[in-house]
Amino acid sequence: MVISAPWLKEFLPNLDWGVSELCENLTSIGHETKIIDKTHLEVDITPNRGDCNSVFGLARDLAGIYNLLLVQPTVDDLPKNGNFINLKINHKLKDQVTYDLLVEIENYQTQDSPPEIVDKLTELGLAHKDLIVDLTNIIAYEIGSPLHAFDFQKISNGLELDLSSNNEEIALLDGRSVKLPANCLIQRSASQVVDLAGIMGGLNSAVTDTTNHAVLQAAVFDPSLVRSSSKLSNVASAASLQYQKGVSSFTADLGLKRFLHLLRKYKPQVKVNCSQRLTQDKSVTGITIDLKKINTLIGYDFRPEDLTKLTKLGFVCQGETVIPPQWRLDVSNTPELAEEMARVIGLNKIGTRELKKVKLPQDCDFRRLQTLKQQLKNIGLTETSGYSFSDMGEIEIANPLNKDEKFIRTSLKDSLVTTVSRNPYMKKVCYFEIGHVFPKQEVPKIGFIMPTFDKSLVTKINEVLGENLNYEFIEETELKKKNVKLTQVNFAETELGPVLSRIRTMTELDSTLKKYQPISKYPPVVRDISLLVDNSIKSSTIVSILSRNKSVLLAEQTDSFQSDKLGRTKTSLTYRILLQNMDRSLTDAEADRVLRECLNSLSKEVQFTLR
């Protein structure tokens, strides 16, 4: 909800906070706020605080917590109940409609709203139409009570609040014609649907510039009923969103009274009558004070006098009971009362109490899982992780993101191939992944992929797993689909459960995390070099020296070769060097220069011949 600070200050005249302080103070009391500009804030009202979903509601909450002077909106009393229109409510809706009152407005002539109203509507991004319609929009925003105006002539036969039958139609105020499914909340007049109740009115009952006899309705509908109705009809509005956060009877009443005041202010000659009340207003009940439970729940020593801090929020303390104000639908039991007390004290003042320390034996599935991963890492494998979606599978998603992600994966193969495809320059890295897969029955699995088959690694993996895995070549079509240019990629997977049960000895687990080094958006440039060196030279030394250069992402030994022709004291070592730059791909000239720098540095420490 967008809040204008000056409008808020109409109800909080002594407020001297700027937007930053207002933003901070709203967030601290449970209304997450962002600054839009010097006079506007975006406030997120949670679904349980419908009472704050309006300018006045928010002002009231601020006044209660921060002890500010609150100015009540000026209102007129409602006229006595009468019977100017025939009203019916389907008895099935009895518990879901907790307020329904109509006001008849006679001697009306449509007129443009005065500038102060038009300005406020413009600020809200709303067009101004006619005084009655404009005031309903102002009240909804200012008081939090959605109101709807009808032309009396068009509903003179009466209003019936009901659930729709399948295929009833309505042409809505926004121009859409909607065919309704069953069970949408509607109002009919003479068997025609005239209103998608709580959401949007129909054109056939709307106030127009010839209206001189209008009807205003304030109602409270159950949030779930409005949400379901909105989803079924596929229509939403500011009003339906407001209902979904919960509107109290108190607020509906206040909205109606405020409307009357403003209407009479700008059109003193109107004559108003009230309808009968068909609903039983649900009034807020008192809560028996259980201070012991509240203190145990919060972990704070509230004393009886702390309850009086709630008075500024409208709570009434009567002996052993606390009665919440009529606009608070979210405080009806002890935990909710405890939450409000903690909010009033300030959550940052609750303090902290450490739980007792306890030691548990370390033999559990979680520990075995982390040990398994550690052991695989220790033999040189790289753990990867991919998405659970797939373009094929047994279990289909009803609302997928796109057609390539309609299923949940039945195997880890796809995800592992994706990882290989992501790293086209790394031919020797072997990856493993542990994750859930979804053939008919969900099961956690562990999978392995080897772009280059490594027999000794296979043996080591089998030792760790306690089982001999069967590797298969991945179909070339699958590799081509993911742009993998290698042809003999090996894959194996098996169920995780049995593997875990065979993990007996726990390993020390890595827990140090290095700072993230941002990776370049640009692909690395690859250079392969072969060096003839003395047998005594350690390859890791060469890797280390080559890697020192800023532009070298990785230096990997890819081959090692000895022959009599080269000499028995010499070895030929081949390295793949990946060069990268954060800002762009290196040109050939730049790559060559970097390579010369590397070889230059190397020559200072190692004797070699470039082949």
Binding site: N48, P335, T352, R353, D365, Y387, D510, P518, E556
Partner: protein, 235 residues
């Protein structure tokens, strides 16, 4: 122009999320937590109804759900583990539920459709909000080992009452929202076959990728599922 050094190596590598989970577990081990894994495909009632989020409740709009054609859902939070787990054991309990969750929302540098959470659940006779706040602040102090400021503010989740959110501030930085938590709602306790007059509990859920971003400075969480060796090879 200054170039940043990215260095990766050819040793074996654990996924950084695995390393993070090891570190997180070191913290919770001090308090005797057990770690329980569970299904990613769950019944709608385990993900919502049993957590006090009935059908058509507006709170269902707080999370965007992937529905399966057979009526089940991909869990939107590891909270789906709370009730089924407690129905199989007697309190007191100190539990951590790690695992993958799914949200049907737009992805960006801070959000992905597949991500990981850890859920914490403690049920006991007199565990309180003050215990919860201590546990959460302690976790961040353990992971970050630097001067931190915390801000606890009221929030709303249907399965807790009171509900809170915790924000973190590192020296000179902005306030960053880290996680949601609260005291287990009496309705949820009753769904666990526990009497709310006798038992209390707290619960919290935190995105593991979000924690990883805070601890390592990762600025795009989608990288964690990319399989890019230039990332995996750093660890």
């Amino acid at each position: 122009m200054a170039q940043k050094n990215v260095k990766i190596n050819m040793n074996g590598h654990l996924h950084p999320l695995t390393i993070l989970l090891n570190k997180v577990a070191q913290y919770f081990d001090q308090y005797g937590f057990e770690y329980v894994y569970g299904p990613e495909v769950v019944r709608e009632q385990d993900n919502f109804d049993l957590l006090n989020i009935p059908k058509d409740h507006p709170a269902r709009d707080l999370q965007d759900t992937f529905y399966l054609k057979d009526g089940r859902v991909l869990r939107t939070h590891t909270s789906s583990m709370q009730v089924p787990t407690m129905l199989k054991r007697k309190p007191p309990a100190r539990l951590i539920f790690p695992g993958r969750v799914f949200r049907n929302e737009a992805t960006d540098s801070g959000h992905n459709t597949n991500f990981n959470q850890i859920e914490g659940l403690v049920i006991d006779k007199d565990v309180s909000l003050a215990n919860l706040i201590a546990m959460l602040e302690g976790l961040f102090k353990y992971l970050l080992k630097e001067d931190l400021e915390f801000r606890i503010r009221p929030s709303y989740f249907p399965f807790v009452e009171p509900g809170i959110e915790l924000d973190l501030k590192r020296s000179e930085g902005p306030w960053t929202e880290m996680l949601g938590a609260g005291m287990v709602h009496p309705k949820v306790l009753r769904n666990m076959n526990l009497d709310p007059e006798q038992w209390q509990g707290f619960a919290f859920g935190v995105g593991l990728e979000r924690l990883l971003a805070i601890v390592t400075g990762l600025n795009d969480i989608r990288v964690t599922l990319s399989g890019d060796y230039r990332y995996l090879g750093q660890y």
